[in-house]
């Protein structure tokens, strides 16, 4: 059972990583226009010049 000492902190850390990533997506306004983002990948506008 000693393995739990490592596993539990690791699982919580990994979950926290996911949470931090989600916070980042909220901060960078990735949920403002879900329909638009889904459609924008279909246009060729940025094909040879990725949006920075």
């Amino acid at each position: 059972m000693n393995v739990l000492v490592y596993l539990i902190p690791i699982s919580i850390f990994l979950g926290g990583l996911g949470l931090a990533a989600f916070f980042w997506t909220i901060r960078s306004r990735q949920y403002d226009d879900p329909d638009g983002d889904a459609n924008r990948i279909l246009t060729g506008d940025y094909d040879d010049h990725p949006k920075d």
């Binding site: 739990l4 539990i8 919580i12 306004r29 329909d35 246009t43």
Partner: protein, 725 residues
């Protein structure tokens, strides 16, 4: 991308342009916001953005497809009308939104705050669930206690942060000595957390940390759906730029705010402008379009001593108006008072969710209390009794109820939004579902308020070309319609010279040595027909009449046919003359109609229908409809309506077409059905789970299962609305 260009790379030759285009996508400082009701695809996004950035002075433009809006950053010199006409000619419908009124950052902040709370509770829920699974599958003694402690360490701070909206709302309700849905929710979350902490300290077998967290998570999701639907609808509907004129030009040329105009001032009104005040014409001759105020489709002659009202549109010549009433006293404001009176009668509607909450909140509390008291009396064990009471609270907690309504309204309003309808009021869908009578306004609603020439083929060819040449010299709506119709029929304008407009009368010119005139019957000495018409007189010959019918709004006949097919009574109430109304009624297939209705008459007719037990849907656009719109059970107005009219409407049609009306009523009926189904599903789960909880057999595992299963079924049931009804 670096700023340095390397010429060895052939693609880089094209890079500066591409880079500029790409930079243009990030809008820093929004100057204009446009509503684009008709966009739906990737090609529309790049089409609109390309069209906008092509305009001189536009620095950046970005389309938001979810909100169907475009944000534009531009130089001071750019006028929004040019942008709109550029988009219109490219095939995209566009309306201006009031950029300053759209508090985008404010609403976004609120939405993001809820999303963050959902994330925190979701993260905590999953971690605690992992630990709980270990406990449920048999971890015992020290291991179980350790797991419970870790769960507590994750769950308690998470709850304290994520469930705040519920606590705040519940506290507010309690302070006002009321019970709302958030009171049992907060109680369940707090009791579950507190009880579980106590059990953990005492090395108990059951802890409900996961239940408290999943409760928070599911309910926050419902909250977020609810919030999103409302904010999208509210922001767009209320902020469509105002059509009302906030300023007026005085005779000496100074522009002043309406507020600063006093009785007795002289105001200049140029052709094409809206009259800003009530008053009397003291100088000039022109024609006035009164359709927004009265529903009359024919322009009215105006000269010295004509009484004009705020909201009318001056068509042909400049006018000077002596102010008799401005601001608060003007006819626009009196109309608003009428609306305020009618509105109070409608605010009494209680939504299905409120009715459920009124019954549900006390029932849950009583049940939990009964469980607690019953077990105390039966066993004398307070800890056991409290555990059972918490289990009852958690299991009955309106998880499915919290999702039942928002999930459905989100799906329904999303579907209506795609069809081009905005829902402003949260109970509008439920009210629309009950409608059995539909009352339409004519001018501007069923018709576009735009005349269409109806007898061009009956008129000799040479007359056509003379009339066309004269019509080109005027901006009067009838002239424009005549010119358009002639051009569509490939008529070439005749060589008419010395064309001049006689304000309020018509257009005059010289053709082959004769005076030719196009205008009013009285001006030409002709007999006026009983319908909208303009007359052409060549020399001393008999005048020829060009007759017009009101152009039908796109989708109007479809909408009427669809509503009739659904078994609803359709009524037409118009302020226009009987001939025009009768003609339209037969054209579109409406049997019940009434002409020459005053605003008060319209509201009265709607009230009469309501008294006789009808649920009336009113569709109108004019100021003369506002009172009727407010008096109706539910109301819809097109986006082209005056702001005051849109404000009293529950729904706004974003596009030009009326066709979505038929679909809207259908969707609303199935949405209400889904809401009721969802309540039944939630009740069914409770019917099974409550006896188990009361008997003391509910474990945290059972609670978690019941809660998740009911929430998921309810959401899936709501999603069925996205497809065909």
């Amino acid at each position: 991308m670096s700023e340095v260009q390397i010429s060895a790379c052939p693609a880089c030759v094209a890079a500066p342009a591409a880079e500029e285009a790409a930079h243009a996508r990030d809008v820093q400082d929004t100057r204009f916001v446009l509503s684009l009701p008709a966009i739906y695809c990737a090609a529309c996004i790049s089409g609109v953005e390309r069209e906008l950035t092509k305009q001189p002075g536009v620095r950046a433009a970005r389309v938001n497809l979810t909100l169907k809006r475009a944000q534009i950053e531009a130089e001071e010199s750019v006028s929004v009308d040019n942008l709109i006409s550029a988009l219109t000619s490219a095939g995209y419908e566009a309306y201006e939104l009031d950029a300053s009124a759209i508090s985008a950052t404010e609403t976004d902040k609120k939405g993001r705050a809820i999303l963050t709370r959902i994330a925190v509770s979701g993260f905590a829920m999953m971690n605690v669930m992992l630990l709980s699974v270990a406990v449920w599958s048999g971890a015992s003694d020290v291991t179980r206690d350790l797991f419970h402690w870790i769960s507590a360490a994750i769950a308690l701070p998470a709850i304290a942060y994520a469930a705040q909206p519920f606590f705040v709302s519940a506290w507010g309700a309690l302070r006002a000595k009321r019970l709302n849905m958030d009171v049992p929710i907060s109680l369940a979350i707090l009791l579950a957390g507190g009880m579980s902490l106590f059990e953990t300290m005492e090395s108990g077998h059951h802890a409900y940390f996961d239940a408290a967290l999943s409760l928070t998570f599911f309910l926050l999701s419902g909250r977020y759906l609810d919030y999103r639907t409302r904010s999208v609808a509210r922001s767009a509907a209320e902020e469509l730029a105002a059509l009302e004129v906030p300023r007026a030009t005085l005779v000496d040329g100074t522009v002043v705010s309406i507020k600063d105009i006093a009785k007795g001032d002289f105001v200049r009104v140029v052709p094409g402008a809206r009259v800003p005040v009530d008053g009397i014409v003291v100088e000039g001759a022109s024609e006035l379009d009164r359709s927004l105020l009265t529903g009359e489709s024919l322009p009215v002659e105006a000269g010295v001593d004509t009484v004009v009202s705020a909201g009318e549109v001056n068509l042909t010549g400049p006018l000077v108006v002596k102010v008799t009433a401005a601001g608060e006293d003007s006819s626009l404001h009196r109309m608003a008072d009428l609306v305020a009176m009618a509105e109070t009668s409608r605010n009494k509607y209680t939504s299905l969710a409120d009715r459920a909450a009124q019954f549900y909140a006390p029932a849950v509390h009583l049940l939990a209390l009964a469980a607690f008291l019953g077990w105390v009396v039966a066993t004398g064990d307070i800890r056991l009794a409290l555990n059972i009471a918490v289990a009852v609270l958690i299991i009955t907690c309106p998880c499915a109820l919290g999702l039942a309504v928002p999930a459905v309204t989100t799906a329904a309003s999303g579907r209506l939004f795609r069809a081009g309808m905005l829902i402003k009021s949260s109970t509008a869908i439920e009210r629309l579902a009950e409608v059995d009578t539909v009352v339409f306004d004519k001018t501007g609603t069923l018709t576009e308020g735009r005349p269409e020439l109806s007898n061009l083929s009956d008129i000799p060819k040479d007359m056509q070309s003379v009339a066309m040449a004269l019509a080109a010299g005027s901006a009067h709506p009838l002239s424009l319609a005549l010119f358009d119709a002639a051009r569509a029929a490939d008529v070439m304008p005749a060589a008419v010279t010395d064309i001049r407009e006689v304000p309020g009368q018509g257009v005059e010119g010289q053709f082959e040595g004769q005076t030719v005139r196009l205008g009013r019957a009285t001006w030409l000495g002709a007999d006026a027909l009983g319908q909208t018409a303009t007359y052409l007189k060549v020399g001393d010959a008999e005048a020829v009449a060009f007759t017009f019918i009101d152009h039908l709004r796109e989708g109007a006949d479809e909408a009427v046919a669809a509503l009739k097919k659904q078994g609803k009574d359709v009524v037409l109430l118009s302020g226009d003359g009987p001939a025009a109304v009768a003609e339209l009624a037969t054209r579109i297939g409406i049997d019940a109609w009434d002409a020459e209705c005053l605003p008060e008459t319209k509201a009265l007719r709607v009230a009469e229908l309501t008294r006789s037990g009808r649920k009336v849907l009113m569709v109108g656009d004019g100021l003369n409809d506002t009172a009727a719109l407010a008096a109706a059970h539910v109301s819809i107005s097109p986006a082209s309506a005056l702001e005051a009219t849109r404000v009293v409407s529950d729904m706004v049609l974003l596009g030009k077409s009326l066709a979505p009306l038929g679909e809207a009523t259908q969707v609303s009926v199935s949405a209400t059905k889904r809401i009721k189904e969802n309540f039944n599903i939630a009740a069914l789960y409770n019917l099974v789970a409550i006896p188990i909880a009361l008997a003391g057999y509910a474990t945290p595992l059972a609670a978690a299962l019941a809660m998740s299963a009911s929430s998921v079924t309810v959401s899936l049931n709501a999603l069925r609305l996205r497809g065909k009804p």
